[in-house]
């Protein structure tokens, strides 16, 4: 066992150390919208990307850039990809996050049997370890290449907490939600239709504190299934709504909706106290992106 472990170290595609497990747990939890989800993890010299999909209509990606790790040794040819159960992976990582203790963990791939190996490395006399069995990933079932709808972008940035609240409120009409952007007056409208209808409007000039940025040169309107729209904000970690940076929504070609959140992966509060400026390193951000396909009958208007 020991000799194979040492052998694995020499040949591991990835060996990285992480000092804020909770931040990564938060980032990965934000794409956890149901109980059983298969995730694909792709490793590259730039970092780790985790991808989940649902029904060919929704895809989410979490980008963990190499700057988030305190050590990142990558030595693979090509980009290794493997599948894991998202829930299991997050629950397992969560076990490593002991509140009130600094937790540095080592992540290694592949193990002797293609496992993903994790272990805590900050204490000599107590060690937490995990071996997660990986799968050969399915090919991505749909082409998620996001292309701009035209020469100028159709996008808006809204405070994350407000976006989550609006989407939560649209639950009762259920079914589907129409998102309309119009340049004059510049505004965004969410309209839920189902058992009844509910309309939530963000006026750019009236709500500059909520709607932070707005780009639209022609009116556009698409419908999205409520359950997919809801998945984009349902598990946002509390630090996203608390920091309330803003989430960016972009409508691409064919009405594909892209929702982007920034999740802080700053180190635990205890270590922050030593930082007199209170300044967070900008690189300690995990990027989370969702791609939602529009409903088929929701053609451009």
């Amino acid at each position: 066992m020991s000799s194979s472990a040492i052998g694995a170290e020499e040949t591991a595609d990835l060996l990285c150390h992480l000092d804020n497990v909770q931040g990564i747990v938060d980032a990965l939890s934000s794409v956890r919208w149901k109980r059983h989800q298969d995730a694909v993890i792709e490793v590259s010299e730039h970092g780790i990307v985790l991808i989940v999909e649902d029904s060919g209509c929704l895809q989410a990606k979490v980008y963990l850039q190499r700057e988030l790790f305190i050590r990142y040794d990558y030595s693979a040819q090509g980009r290794p990809r493997f599948g894991v159960g998202l829930g299991l992976f997050v629950d397992c990582l969560n076990t490593f996050s002991v509140p009130g203790h600094s937790n540095t963990i080592e992540i290694r791939y592949p193990g002797p049997d293609m496992q993903l190996l994790l272990k805590s490395i900050d204490s000599l006399d107590a060690c937490i370890y995990a071996e997660i069995r990986t799968r050969i990933p399915d090919t991505i079932s749909w082409d998620y290449d996001f292309e701009p709808a035209g020469s100028s972008p159709l996008s808006f940035t809204v405070k994350s907490a407000a976006l989550k609240e609006a989407i939560d409120d649209l639950e009762w009409p259920g079914s589907s939600v129409q998102i309309t952007l119009q340049p004059a007056p510049p505004s965004v409208m969410f309209k839920g239709e189902g058992h009844g209808d509910l309309q939530i409007e963000f006026m750019y000039y009236a709500n500059t504190d909520l709607l932070i940025a707005f780009h639209c040169d022609h009116a556009v309107s698409h419908r999205y299934k409520y359950k997919f729209l809801r998945a984009t904000t349902s598990n946002l970690p509390s630090n996203v709504t608390k920091d309330n940076r803003g989430s960016k929504l972009t409508i691409g070609r064919g009405g594909m909706l892209k929702v982007q959140h920034l999740v802080s992966v700053a180190r635990s509060a205890a270590t922050h106290q030593y930082n007199p400026s209170g300044y967070q390193q900008p690189s300690r951000i995990a990027y989370v992106e969702f791609f939602v396909k529009p409903e088929v009958d929701g053609d451009d208007t």
Partner: protein
């Protein structure tokens, strides 16, 4: 069959704030077993299923003016609902405090065994009665209990209690129960069965292993009570799994499988504020035992008037110990 006593301040502090909330988390009902010298709260000792616990107090730790008599060597045992018992003590204490605040003379909380005719019933039923007497008023609370156990049942309980006192040969000490609890609480999402290894070298190794994941924690160099042995040098560089398996093969460790749920429940006992805990496995992996240790306040000496331990009965011994 008679039982009557006054609950002391220390007894109230022990039961109300510490032991009853902890025991309630193990299981709602338990047996209360009273003898001339001890009051014992017992969980699952007779049905032997899963998690057993024994919390034993010397009479002086809880009561004064203690009187007990029965035809069975002055031993009485019955089942009681812990949450009702807790509520009754809590509210009696509240009343006591109010009376004291009102300047009433020496209020004491009396506890006794009575038989009463409940409303709408023709059969008298047994109750544990809490009586708080003030200058002008008295508040009485009745906690329903089971019919006291027969002589045969009490004997059976006593012999189960005697055999539950047997200590594993090796015990390892865990200081930070909160850390262990937070770890096990997170770990329980991953699987249901916990493999536990305890070695004479002072290693405690916990592991959940399913077809999809193996998740474990190894705590090393813990203080050992009882049989100990030096760990072989060559084992240091091994993985936790390999180290444990080799120790079992050498006869330096025991292994057992228990339910994660039971293990997590036993950790709830930290609300009883033990000062530390010892874990050990009975020979042949018959059960995992945890013994909580209490110090005399302000000292590092064991308070022998209080004892609390839990045992987990094995699901099966791990078969993969090659």
């Amino acid at each position: 069959m008679k039982f009557k006593a006054f609950l002391t301040d220390n007894g109230v502090a022990l039961l109300e704030k510490r032991f009853l909330p902890a025991l309630d988390k193990i299981d709602k009902t338990c047996n209360l077993y009273l003898t001339r010298d001890h009051a014992v709260f017992l969980h699952n000792l007779l049905n032997g299923d899963g998690l057993q616990s024994v919390a034993q107090f010397r009479i002086e730790a809880l009561f004064d003016g203690y009187r007990i008599s029965s035809q069975n060597e002055d031993r009485i045992a019955f089942a009681v609902d812990l949450s009702l018992l807790h509520r009754a003590i809590r509210s009696s204490v509240g009343i006591c405090n109010e009376l004291t605040a009102a300047g009433s003379a020496s209020e004491r909380l009396q506890i006794k065994l009575v038989k009463k005719l409940p409303a709408n019933s023709t059969q008298p039923m047994p109750f544990l009665t809490f009586e708080t007497k003030g200058y002008k008023s008295a508040v009485i609370q009745d906690v329903p209990i089971s019919k006291p156990m027969s002589r045969a049942q009490v004997l059976e309980l006593q012999s189960a209690l005697d055999s539950a006192q047997a200590l594993p040969k090796t015990l390892v000490q865990v200081h930070d129960l909160n850390q262990l609890q937070s770890f096990v609480d997170r770990m329980r999402h991953v699987g249901d069965v916990l493999n536990v290894w305890i070695s004479k070298h002072g290693d405690l190794h916990l592991q959940i292993s399913t077809t999809l994941i193996t998740l474990g924690a190894e705590f090393r160099k813990l203080v050992v009570l009882g049989e100990r042995a030096e760990a072989p040098r060559e084992d240091r560089s091994l993985s936790a799994q390999a180290r444990s398996e080799r120790a079992v093969t050498r006869g330096d460790a025991e292994a057992v499988q228990v339910s994660v749920k039971h293990f997590a429940k036993s950790l709830q006992c930290h609300t009883a504020k033990p000062d530390c805990a010892f874990y050990g496995i009975a020979e042949q992996g018959a059960c995992l035992t945890v013994i909580f240790q209490f110090f005399i306040p302000g000292t590092r000496q064991t308070d022998k008037s209080i004892s609390l331990h839990c045992s987990f009965f094995f699901l099966s011994t791990p078969s993969n110990l090659g």
